[in-house]
Amino acid sequence: MISLTPAEIEALLLSLRISGVAVACALPFAVAVATALALGRFPGRFILDAIVHLPLILPPVVMGYLLLIGFGTRAPLGAWLYETFDLRFVFSWTGAALASAIVSFPFQVRAIRLSLENVDHGLYQAAETLGAGAIDRFFSLTLPLALPGIIAGAITAFAASLGEFGAIITFVSNVPGETRTLPLAIYTAIQTPGGELAAARLAALSIGLAFTGLLLSELALHRIRKRAAS
């Protein structure tokens, strides 16, 4: 077992917390957007689709820059959030969580949307003839049937946001104990003379985390399939 320094443990826990909060907060929005994209027929659907997927192709630095413009304490939105809710993003772990949430958002939406589109439309018709309204159908059919996709999406997004680097360092900088997540800690170690060993340890840890995440995601899907079959 490799022993980690307190600072490294701090980076690990911070990474987990930031990714966890990012995924949890983004999940309801991801379900809503995926539902709109999968089942909705409205003008501007393609534009919404494009905006959601933008973080996948934009350079993360650009994402961080846009966040800085939008949520900095001097930007109108950022200032308003700060004054009304005492919510400050810049140089704060909440900012890192916001950046992670936005960057990993497409992963969630894609997985959820896919599972929504796989639900047989005839089931909704059957439910309708049995007296279920739209909201009722959403909670009694759509959500439970899309559950595998929701879980898979959440885990993939969690794993993806663990690795986020560019958007975080641009938006909220590299503050130890506040915004220095695992990738930022690795970067810092590489920049520090004699930090090669620390970088290697942290890199190994990252690989382990990513692997565990994938295993968990597979396990969750397997469980759900088995439950559906019993």
């Binding site: 309708e128 003839t129 007296g131 019993s230």
Partner: protein, 376 residues
């Protein structure tokens, strides 16, 4: 209890213009070949497809009226649907599926009626299973129960048996017969299988290429040879109501009475009812000028020819009424005396010099007996 439908609908290459009225309860067959618009019609009644024009009404309950801008949402129409592909909710148990509609309906069925439906469907052992562990027949039984328990005003069955093999069909049919005989709910039964029509239904709406061709009682409609070429697999024949009068298990026969005529059929077990329904296909009836003797056919009925119709191809359709008394043909028209149809070759017809009012003998080669024949 009545259903009134008069709709028009236009979709790319498909034009539907249907009109029919079903004045009585019981099962009405919506019969026609694939692609004739049967499912579209049913979906319109359910509210899943919106007609371009017309109206749809169940009793006094207007579901759709184009001119008044009425189009009730699906869930306010009180229709129960059973689809070809069962459409059970895969993530819910059989019990949850069954009560999905009942839980959402303010006008619930009384507890004892719910129980009698569940008892009838024999699904007590399946309650905690998921649909994917059910057989095809069990799935359709659950789907039927789910629709019934939602206490609908009308039941729409869209080819509920067509995805099942022969054995499974035979398993479901008695449940549908029970439904017909014990629940006062009008049922619209979509099918392209004539044997299901003959066995189950009271009325018949024949539809082809989006048009209603004919509507009437199944006893009248099945004899109409003019519908044969139009409605695809329509196989002309006769449906006759009959009564079981006695049984002889040793000889393995049962004796029936149809009008004043006695008939012998293979032993029927111990039926629940003495009322049965006979289906005789026109091609299973031969005609003899003198009563044949030393013949294997058990049922030879003295009849009088009422009508001879040309059919496409080299056959003719001979309509005959039971009895050989002088006013037999008159009685057939006025008092509903049973009629039977035979399809024979033109050559046979001219060889026997058949003509209306002639007294002949109908030799029945085979007869299908339908009724509640379950041993319970």
């Amino acid at each position: 209890m009545s259903i009134g439908v008069n709709v028009e609908y236009h979709l790319k290459n498909f034009q539907l213009s249907a009109e029919f009225n079903i004045p009585e309860p019981g099962i009405t067959a919506l019969f026609g070949p694939s692609g004739s618009g049967k499912t579209t019609l049913v979906n319109m009644i359910a509210g899943l497809v919106r007609p371009d024009r017309g109206h749809i009404q169940i009793n006094d309950h207007v579901l759709f009226e184009h001119s008044r801008g009425i189009n009730l949402p699906v869930r306010e129409r009180r229709v129960g649907c059973v689809f070809q592909d069962n459409r059970l909710f895969p993530h819910k148990s059989v019990r949850e599926n069954l009560f999905y509609g009942a839980r959402r309906n303010p006008h619930k069925l009384p507890q004892d009626e719910q129980q009698s439906i569940l008892d009838m469907l024999d699904i007590a052992d399946l309650m905690d299973r998921r649909p994917n562990l059910l057989s095809g027949g069990e799935k359709q039984r659950v789907a039927l129960g789910r629709a019934l328990l939602s206490n609908p005003d009308v039941l729409l069955l869209d080819e509920p048996l067509s995805a099942l093999d022969h054995a499974r069909k035979q398993e479901i049919l008695p449940y549908l017969e029970w439904l017909r005989d014990h629940r006062k709910i009008p049922i619209l039964y979509v099918t392209h299988a004539i044997d299901e029509v003959a066995r189950l239904t009271d009325h018949m709406v024949v539809i082809d290429q989006g048009k209603t061709l004919a509507t009437g009682s199944v006893f009248d409609m099945l004899g109409r040879t003019d519908l044969a070429p139009l409605a695809g697999r329509f196989d002309a024949g006769t449906v006759l109501p009959a009564r079981i009068v006695s049984r002889d298990p040793k000889a393995e026969v049962s004796f029936l009475e149809c009008g004043e005529q006695r008939l012998v059929v293979p032993y029927l077990g111990r039926p629940n009812t003495d009322r049965v329904r006979l289906h005789v296909r026109a091609r299973d009836v031969m005609i003899a000028r003198t009563p044949p003797r030393d013949i294997s056919a058990n049922n030879i009925i003295p009849v009088t020819i009422t009508k001879i119709t040309d059919t496409p191809g080299d056959t003719i359709d001979v309509t005959m009424c039971f009895g050989q008394d002088a006013d037999a043909t008159l009685l057939a028209e006025t008092s509903g005396r049973p009629k039977i149809h035979a399809r024979i070759t033109k050559w046979s017809g001219s060889r026997l010099k058949l003509q209306p009012h002639q007294k002949v003998f109908a030799v029945i080669k085979s007869v299908t007996v339908n009724g509640q024949l379950r041993d319970r």
